[in-house]
């Protein structure tokens, strides 16, 4: 009972410290509101406003048809350029794609000579190049096919294809990035808050003071975990409802409370990790750098930015030991696919185990290093 009271009191103190630092509060709110909103809007990997230039040497109805098929919002209206302008334009980054329709293209198509259209892609623009190239190829194939069918009166294709997008029918990238930004902010900010709170106490000598009181390192750490975790959880909840669900209009397929439960478990792991880092670093500048070295891979390799299944197996295995991978996959499952506890319990369990391991490691180091400093 008294132990719980200690943890409660220390946690309340922790929150008072946070409340005292108004700049910090501003950053906290910013990152979960406007910062998140802008990042979600800008990072959408859908194809938008891609720039295409066309060298049309055929000037036939078919080539006109191709030009007309490259439409907004995916593409900017195509620019007609001369052959000599292709390379300089690509070099300067004016166009991501150039399409070269050769002389007598339409005639050769109808004559069954399989003429070739050349598509140049600026491969330095990773996502845009990749998705855009697929789009253009399909558009060209579609248009040519329809043109030939219409001209020759061919029967429809022998097999028709109906693709359906599950969970996000319009492939709205803003939803995805909004949810993933939320997840990333939760991870990054909780690690910093909990870790920096411990370093601050060390640098100001207050930690030593706590250690001569009838308090155990466990209680001191537990207070930091719950207080900082709760603050982030509260801001994240508001962000999920007001910004992600509200402003970004993302439908939440699954249960909000299940997501919040998972976020709470995740915060247990990340705050414990923050404290662990703080016991390794000896000063705030060291902590700041160490934190960057940990947080960047943790968020980049978690599956929130790129699919995990394409990563090398070793990386996938290592990342299974981090809380972010589980939380990201859980967030995607609950928020988009409407998965329930029956589907995501392994992730919840993993984060509980990982959190406990981090906490135990931090506790061991805390006892060893902090007492001696």
């Amino acid at each position: 009972m008294q132990r719980l009271a200690n943890i409660l009191q220390l946690g309340v103190k922790e929150m008072r410290s946070l409340w005292f630092d108004k700049v910090l509060l501003f950053f906290l709110i910013w990152s979960f509101s406007l910062g998140l909103y802008e990042a979600a809007n800008s990072q959408s990997t859908e194809l938008r406003n891609a720039s295409v230039a066309v060298v049309d040497e055929d000037r036939s109805p078919l080539s006109q048809r191709l030009l007309g098929a490259l439409r907004p919002p995916e593409f900017l209206p195509p620019k007609l350029i001369g052959f000599a302008d292709v390379d300089p334009g690509l070099d300067a980054g004016l166009y991501t794609f150039t399409l070269h329709v050769p002389v007598n293209f339409q005639r050769d198509v109808l004559a069954g000579k399989h003429p070739a259209i050349q598509l140049n892609i600026d491969a330095t623009r990773m996502n845009e190049a990749f998705i855009g190239a697929g789009y253009i190829q399909n558009i060209v194939t579609d248009e040519v096919t329809r043109f030939v069918q219409g001209y020759r009166g061919d029967p429809p294709l022998p097999i028709r294809l109906a693709t359906r997008m599950q969970y996000n029918p319009n492939l709205n990238g803003v939803w995805f990035w909004g949810a993933m930004e939320l997840v990333n902010q939760i991870t990054m900010l909780s690690i910093i808050l909990a870790g920096a709170a411990l370093i601050r106490e060390r640098e100001h000598g207050t930690l030593e003071h706590l250690l001569v009181m009838p308090l155990t390192p466990f209680q001191i750490m537990a207070a930091k975990v719950w207080a900082n975790g709760l603050v982030v959880l509260a801001v994240a909840t508001a962000s999920l409802t007001i910004v992600v669900h509200g402003a970004l209009a993302m439908p939440i397929a699954g249960s909000v409370s299940l997501f919040l439960l998972a976020a709470a478990l995740h915060l247990f792991s990340t705050t414990a990790l923050g404290i662990l880092l703080a016991t390794v670093a000896r000063s705030m500048p060291q902590f700041a750098l160490l934190m960057i070295l940990v947080v960047v891979p943790l968020t980049m390799l978690s599956g929130a930015n790129a699919p995990t299944e394409s990563m090398p197996l070793a990386v996938q295995t290592v990342m299974l030991a981090t809380p972010t991978t589980h939380f990201v996959s859980l967030a995607q499952a609950v928020l988009f696919r409407g998965a329930g506890l029956d589907v995501v319990w392994p992730q919840l369990l993993s984060n509980l185990i990982i959190g406990a391991a981090f906490f135990a490691a931090a506790l061991a180091r805390f006892r060893r290093t902090v007492a001696l400093s």
Binding site: T124, L157, M284
Partner: protein
């Protein structure tokens, strides 16, 4: 005294911190060329007055003239700052803990524009005369309190000031060091007759030696005059008494001389504290060497000794904070056990340095500790109220601890140590910096609880009159206990009249006399100080840069991160991160089960992008397995597919794609459609006809990266991204850390300009980051085999501009935040997300709209990304990238300008 112009003249000066009024309409002329003392209780505005005179704090109302000029004018302050030296309150607060003694003084010499030879001569002279020469290379953090104060004095005196302002310079300093400190000041004044010295002090015996005194109380000046004047005016024999007589009636009433009631000997019971051969070694340094003593219950046991002699370490071992290297300690007859919480409740401990929560108010601190010590709920508030009254904290009860003057903070710490009515108090210099009246009040309290409640008190102090009140005292030096007895017996043993003499006799006998500086009375001929010029000076900038570099150099962990952090991240990320989409898991719901349907599924399974999973049997299974992310794609083949295909009835195949991750879903759709057309072509070929989908072919050429591996495209982008994090984080704490630890005062009171300070701080980190950049470049070209097609010069110049911009971003965070936590937080927000989201790394900047588009045009990563990708992949040079270079080149000075505007040259 001096009939000349006063050195400083205050007229109608008031100063307030939020609700608290520190100075209330003070008008005062401080005479030049003499030693002026500021005396008065804690929190009456002494420090505020000194900070205003030195120009460190911004004037609110009234006028302050120093050397006949108005201190409100920034230009004038800059002009005369070389003539003023200011040493703030607190041990070594304006020093740099990791720098050596020499480097600390050297840094100040550089700030005042002294050349190499001049600095060397001055530093030699100063270190010699303060007896610090043997410790020339010792880091400031490892100096004792007295030595730190002497070093602070050296730093203050390096530029031959005409006005020396010292704020409680001897607080927490042992008597021997204190005596040496004042002898030093006297010698310096003997040489520089015109130097004025203004000192705030809590020691009345020191004040006796000053020429002119200002007695202050609650923001007002009570009286001025020589010590003799003041004594004569009040008819008191000692200054203490004189000061008390000057106080208003109400304040005086509570005070009376402290009398020590005799202790009734208790019999029986284990001693309260028992130490046997207690030893503490740090590496090969023995801090405490076989210390033994016994303290009876109810006894007041004093611990005296020079700074750094091991008192604090001994106390920490008794509290269980430090496990001893050898020997053992018992509290209440039981061995000290760091895990024994029950004993902790019986002990109250007060550390030497302030260790309460500065962001909480006085009352909140007390309540928190009362609760943590598990006072019954109903007793918490009465106990807190009692302590607030007893320690005279009512006026400050709702002030933040951070805003309290030193003396009041000490009182709060004491109150906190006693909140749970412990049976034993371990107090480490509890009265340092506390004014005499409050100190007496505190001792009455101690005597009361000791005699009436039998509380054992183990106290260390530098005040001899306090030591006299102890039942027994131990003299400690260099880790050893020299003698232990009653004060009277100790005096008797050395035949000395006062305890102070006894103490010094013991110390000198033990060789504790710090190398004395009598020899320094013959001053070496020093070059006369050239008045430092105002305006921008490269030398000061380099001085700041040099100090920053030294600090980094002394911290190998940070240095390693600074140099190799980016490379390490690059290895991790480039190995792990990929935007390739493959190894996609799919399953088929084949409702047809004919050779045709199996053929179609086989076509997908044969692709290198897809991995086949066990087939699906129903819609429920499809939903479940897609929901759990086991499948990214499900193929549904309708019943009768084979038959329909044979009869040319154009059956329809359904593809279910997991759209949760749109980027991946788009790619899957592209793959599926491509495979579908491919299949139709194959089908047509098998039947000897031409499929309409094969009417034309598309030759796709991926430029600049023929294999279109995400890796090759990612490396140049990664360089751009990584050069944000570490450079920004390196500078992010540069300014705010100095704010938090106190050395920012040096910016306020030296001729150093804000621009010199900021650029000097940035310079070393730009250099470090460039080494990091070259590391990234080497790694990309050698290990990753990504070819640099363009100009090396172009990308290097670009990187230089870029890391200057990104480290400027960190510096910006550092200038406007107030805590290190906030600076780290802000830097993360300003780097990680924007670098990925707004720079064009993941998606094209042409797709951005609104605020994000504007932001991305300003953000440096956007531009360096183009430079990096252009030079790596497209063989571009300066001319092609002129726009990006210009953007970066504009960002750098804009950032510096913003920092300069946000940084203050005076404390608010």
């Amino acid at each position: 005294m001096s009939a000349a112009e006063p050195v400083a003249r205050l007229a109608g000066v008031s100063h307030r911190y939020r609700k608290v009024k520190a100075l209330d309409d003070v008008s005062l002329d401080i005479p030049a060329g003499c030693r002026v003392g500021l005396i008065g209780p804690d929190g009456v505005g002494k420090s505020s007055l000194l900070a205003l005179v030195s120009g460190a704090r911004r004037l609110q109302t009234g006028t302050v003239e120093v050397f006949g000029g108005n201190m409100r004018r920034a230009r004038y302050r800059n002009q005369i700052s070389p003539r003023i030296a200011y040493m703030p309150q607190g041990l070594g607060r304006n020093l740099y803990a990791t720098l050596s003694v020499f480097d600390n003084v050297d840094y100040f010499g550089r700030l005042f524009g002294q050349g190499r030879a001049e600095r060397a001569a001055r530093i030699d002279e100063l270190l010699h005369s303060t007896g610090l020469t043997p410790f020339r290379d010792r880091p400031a953090a490892k100096l004792s309190g007295g030595m730190k104060q002497k070093l602070g004095l050296c730093c203050a005196l390096i530029h031959d000031p005409d006005l020396l302002i010292l704020d409680e310079p001897t607080t927490g300093v042992d008597p021997l060091s204190r005596r040496q400190f004042w002898e030093l000041i006297d010698r310096l004044r003997a040489r520089r007759k015109n130097m004025s010295v203004i000192v705030a002090t809590a020691y009345m015996e020191e004040a006796e030696r000053f020429d002119w005194l200002v007695a202050m109380n609650v923001g007002k000046v009570l009286a001025t005059g020589s010590p003799a004047d003041l004594k004569a005016r009040t008819g008191a024999a000692y200054l203490d008494a004189a000061f008390i007589a000057l106080l208003p009636e109400a304040q005086r009433a509570g005070h009376r001389a402290v009398t020590v009631p005799p202790r009734e000997m208790e019999t029986g019971g284990a001693p309260a504290i028992e130490a046997e051969g207690l030893t503490m070694r740090f590496g090969d340094f023995t801090a405490v060497d076989r210390v033994s003593f016994r303290i009876e219950r109810g006894e007041i046991f004093g611990f005296l000794g020079s700074n750094g002699c091991g008192k604090t370490t001994t106390m920490k071992m008794l509290t269980g904070l430090l496990p001893p290297s050898a020997g053992d300690a018992k509290l209440f007859g039981q061995a000290v056990d760091p895990h024994d919480l029950a004993t902790r409740k019986r002990v109250g401990y007060m550390t030497q340095a302030f260790s309460l929560y500065s962001e909480l108010t006085v009352r909140q601190n007390l309540v928190l500790h009362a609760r943590l010590f598990h006072l019954p709920h109903v007793q918490v508030m009465p106990r807190v109220a009692e302590l607030i009254e007893r320690f005279d904290l009512a006026a400050h009860a709702d002030a933040l601890a951070a805003s309290l003057p030193l003396g009041i903070r000490q009182r709060l710490s004491l109150a906190v140590a006693m909140v749970h009515k412990p049976e034993m108090l371990i107090l480490d210099e509890p009265t340092s910096g506390v004014d005499p009246v409050a100190r007496d009040g505190f001792w009455e309290l101690l005597l009361d609880i000791s005699r009436r409640q039998g509380v054992t008190i183990f106290i260390s102090t530098h005040f001899m009159n306090e030591a006299e009140r102890c039942d027994r005292i131990s003299l400690m030096h260099a880790g050893k206990v020299l003698a232990s007895d009653t004060p009277a017996a100790l005096k008797h043993s050395r035949g000395a009249a006062t305890l102070e003499e006894t103490f010094i006799a013991y110390l000198e006998e033990a060789g504790g006399k710090e190398p004395d500086a009598a020899a320094a009375a013959t001053p070496t001929k020093m070059p006369t100080a050239k008045p430092a010029r105002g305006g921008f000076r490269l030398m000061r900038l380099l001085g700041v840069a040099r100090r920053e570099t030294l600090e980094l150099w002394r911290d190998p962990i940070r240095l390693t991160f600074a140099l190799f952090g980016s490379v390490l991240l690059m290895v991790l990320l480039s190995y792990g991160m990929t935007y390739d989409v493959d190894k996609l898991r799919f399953a088929a719901l084949d409702r047809d089960q004919t050779p045709e349907s199996r053929d179609y599924v086989q076509n997908i399974a044969g692709s290198r992008y897809f991995l086949a999973r066990p087939p699906l049997y129903d819609q429920a299974g499809l939903d479940r397995r897609m929901r759990s992310a086991e499948l990214s794609l499900a193929i549904e083949i309708p019943p009768g597919y084979g038959a329909d295909l044979r009869r040319g009835r154009s059956p329809e195949i359904g593809m279910w794609i997991d759209g949760a991750m749109p980027f991946r879903a788009e790619t899957i759709r592209g793959y599926v459609q491509g495979l579908h057309y491919q299949y139709l072509n194959d089908l047509a070929t098998r039947h000897g006809v031409t499929s309409p989908t094969a009417a034309a072919t598309i030759e796709a050429r991926y430029r600049y990266n023929q294999d279109f591996e995400s890796f090759n495209a990612m490396v140049p982008g990664m360089i751009a991204i990584l050069l944000v994090f570490i450079p920004a984080m390196l500078t992010a704490l540069g300014v705010v850390r100095e704010k938090e630890l106190g050395s920012i005062t040096n910016l306020y009171v030296t001729p150093m300009t804000r621009l010199e300070f900021l650029l000097g701080k940035q310079l070393p980190y730009v250099a470090m980051s460039m080494i990091g950049f070259l590391g990234l470049l080497a790694l990309s070209v050698s290990l990753f085999g990504v070819q640099l097609k363009g100009s090396f010069a172009a990308i290097t110049v670009g990187a230089l501009l870029y890391v200057t911009a990104t480290s400027g971003l960190g510096l910006l965070m550092s200038t406007f935040t107030r805590s290190q936590v906030a600076a780290v937080f802000g830097t993360v927000i300003a780097t990680i997300t924007p670098a990925f989201a707004f720079s064009g790394f993941t998606s094209s900047v042409s797709a951005l709209e609104g605020g994000a588009a504007v932001f991305s045009k300003i953000y440096p990563t956007t531009h360096f990304l183009v430079i990096s990708q252009g030079t790596f992949g497209k063989a571009l040079g300066f001319a092609d990238l002129a726009e990006q270079f210009t953007a970066l080149a504009l960002f750098v000075p804009a950032m510096t300008l913003l920092c300069t505007v946000l940084l203050r040259k005076q404390e608010k």
